[in-house]
Symmetry: C2
Subunit: 405 residues, 2 copies
């Protein structure tokens, strides 16, 4: 029997909605005959999260009552905790309650699932934004996406028939919760901390992970492999960079790497709760919450994402937050430290902004060893070097009049 934390929800078992075998084959055929509804990449990735059981205990997109409960007090009508509405929307006037439809990723053209429409409803989008993002500012990337949603939300149970490009494109990294649980079980882990990553790991991330390794059975370095923002390091480079760090600076058997397809909402505190919720399904007893977790701009206080874990009903969520303060290298401490453990001044600390890091790397400069491991820097330098070559080719093309072709 597994010693791992139970999956989220009252049933305490994984509920994957991905069909298998003959059932899958039949549903794929049937989907072709159904009305095809285009969905966004966020909706597609949410479906895949449901498919693999990462969104257990959800069985489909939320009803209006669930949407309302989640916005108001993190609770679905079945009494299960959930922190952010998981919904699909459309402007299509023809879809009716009772319809069975196929959900097609508008970006890849892949049919991800079929859905039995049990309810078609409108929502107060501003209300959702206020509840989830604490703002209705259209500059907020999460708000922008909600406000751009279709007029109607559709609720109803889904049958997932594809994991899209993820298993292939992120082979060896992309994992279903049942898979990570198996790995943890084989390692004899019980207390597992998840580290959320969507960027290469520098020494502050390494430090977060190592604190967790010291006090837990192991750390799950869990990368977002869903859609990224422009300017982000692409998945393959990031995977290589994280791999180099893990190989050279962690003890074997203390770290497991994995990837999940969800897209960021940038909902700060609420998203931290969502991260913990689906990490519980992946078998993690703890979720590392650092400074400004899942935040964007100045919408959230740096530790709001830690505090919110004290504001939800007791026992609603079994996965606990492992809070860690802002981390950095301190020359006086002679190593990595956090605001909780270093009493020294700014002048003693190495603080680099993300902008400075990108600028240094894109100009071929070196990052100090106190900020990033040389093995990681090398991989990032190679990536930026490649970018530069691409730009040069483009510029060369322009010079010979090949632009606009």
């Amino acid at each position: 029997m597994s010693d791992l934390i139970v999956p989220h929800g009252k049933e305490e078992r994984l509920i994957p909605l991905l069909l298998e075998g003959e059932e899958l084959k039949a549903e794929i055929e049937k989907a072709k005959t159904l009305k095809q509804l285009k969905i966004t990449s966020r909706e597609a990735s949410d479906l895949i999260m449901m498919g693999i059981g990462a969104f257990t205990p959800l069985t489909g997109f939320m009803t209006k009552a669930d949407w309302q409960g989640v916005c108001d007090n993190f609770m679905m009508t079945d009494g299960n905790f959930w922190p952010i509405p998981i919904t699909v929307s459309t402007d299509d006037e023809e879809v009716k309650e009772g319809d069975e439809i196929a959900l097609v990723d508008e970006e890849t053209g892949t049919t991800i699932a079929t859905m039995q429409v049990s309810e078609k409803y409108t929502i107060d989008k501003e209300y959702e934004c206020k509840a989830v993002f604490t703002t209705t500012d259209m500059e907020h990337p999460g708000v922008e996406k909600v406000m751009a949603q279709g007029k109607y939300n559709l609720a109803g149970p889904v049958k997932v028939i594809s994991e899209s490009f993820y298993p292939e494109e992120f082979k060896g990294l992309y994992q279903r919760p049942a898979e990570s649980r198996k790995i943890f079980d084989d390692l004899g882990w019980r207390r597992v901390a998840a580290l959320q990553l969507r960027n290469p790991m520098h020494r502050s991330h390494e430090f977060l992970a190592k604190i967790a390794v010291e006090v837990m059975d192991g750390v799950y370095i869990h990368q977002l492999v869903g859609k990224l923002k422009e300017g982000d390091i692409p998945g393959d480079t990031r995977v290589k960079a994280i791999g180099a760090l893990v190989d050279n600076y962690f003890v074997e058997g203390t770290v497991v790497q994995g990837g999940y397809p969800m897209e960021m909402r940038y909902a700060g505190p609420r998203e931290a709760l969502l991260h913990a919720t689906f990490r519980q399904n992946y078998g993690c007893s703890h979720m590392i919450i650092g400074r400004d977790h899942a935040g964007v701009g100045d919408y959230y206080g740096p530790f709001d994402a830690q505090k919110i874990f004290n504001e939800i009903p007791e026992g609603a969520l079994k996965c606990e937050n492992l809070n860690i303060d802002w981390t950095f290298h301190c020359y006086k401490c002679g190593g990595m430290a956090s605001m909780r453990t270093c009493p020294h001044g700014k002048e003693d600390r190495l603080l680099l902004s993300g902008t400075m890091v990108r600028k240094t790397l894109s100009e071929g400069g070196e990052l100090p060893a106190e900020f990033s491991r040389p093995e990681v820097v090398k991989i990032l330098q190679d990536y930026y070097q490649g970018l530069e070559e691409k730009v040069e080719i483009k510029l060369h093309g322009a010079a010979t009049g090949e632009v606009n072709k």
Copy 2:
């Protein structure tokens, strides 16, 4: 109401046996009239631990049945968990069951308590040694003390009337559990890790404490101020050295210092349990257990003291172990690390034995900054410098024929 962990035992409240006010005055007078029984410094310090409530829920020295239960399965007859017999012994043939006696520290002459003798019994000392120390080797300092005990054990409730020299000699450091609890409450702490110390703090101890600071509300640096072994750094120097480290390398409000009068048993795993048991009374939810905790020589495996926490009945002890592996500075990691977080080789690590440290310091040499903070080294150097001067004075005296005076 306090958010701290409840005191140990079914009553979940501190049970201090130290009398106060008029009752104390009267008992002091009465003690003078009673039969005076000499006790060892270990027995005296155990009495003070009972006096201040640190040994809650004990109400006196153990009966034979309790002694047996504790040896056999960590359990007293009242169903409370206890890991090491707390007993007083004598060779006195005259003491009888029913007697009321005064217990006098043979080293200081201070009357520590009065006792109602409810039972006089003999024990199989080898059996106790085997159970507690896992050995009957007389080279083991704990075994030696048990084997040197009197023929009879005396059981019975005690009334403590003195805390001996501790409050005065360790003013500002010596604390009762009610005092540390008040301090933690005032700081708003709930999750508190105790760090057991009986030596100056070098960087590996600092590292242990800082890992705990990262993941807990705070750390209680809890120094043994009971009797030491020869060659140990004396209390005042140690207190100064630890103070210098805390002042210069910890953030205010993350660390509380305290001292307790108990003597070491060097019982390794069993003593780790005892350390956790009385730390729960002091208000600590966690006890840091490092490598070879409370061990001596090669009697225990380096992590036996961590493993034993999994071998006691579930729920018997609320204070949890916070296990941390062997720690050191690693040049390749570029900072402090442990065997759990550093994958590098011995050649990359700075490892100094206690003997090397004492040798370097006593010869006026410098310890590397990666091993010990300069502020700490300075205090230890001053101490050894003072010792040397004393030796010189002695030698000088010898040369002028003043020896043996």
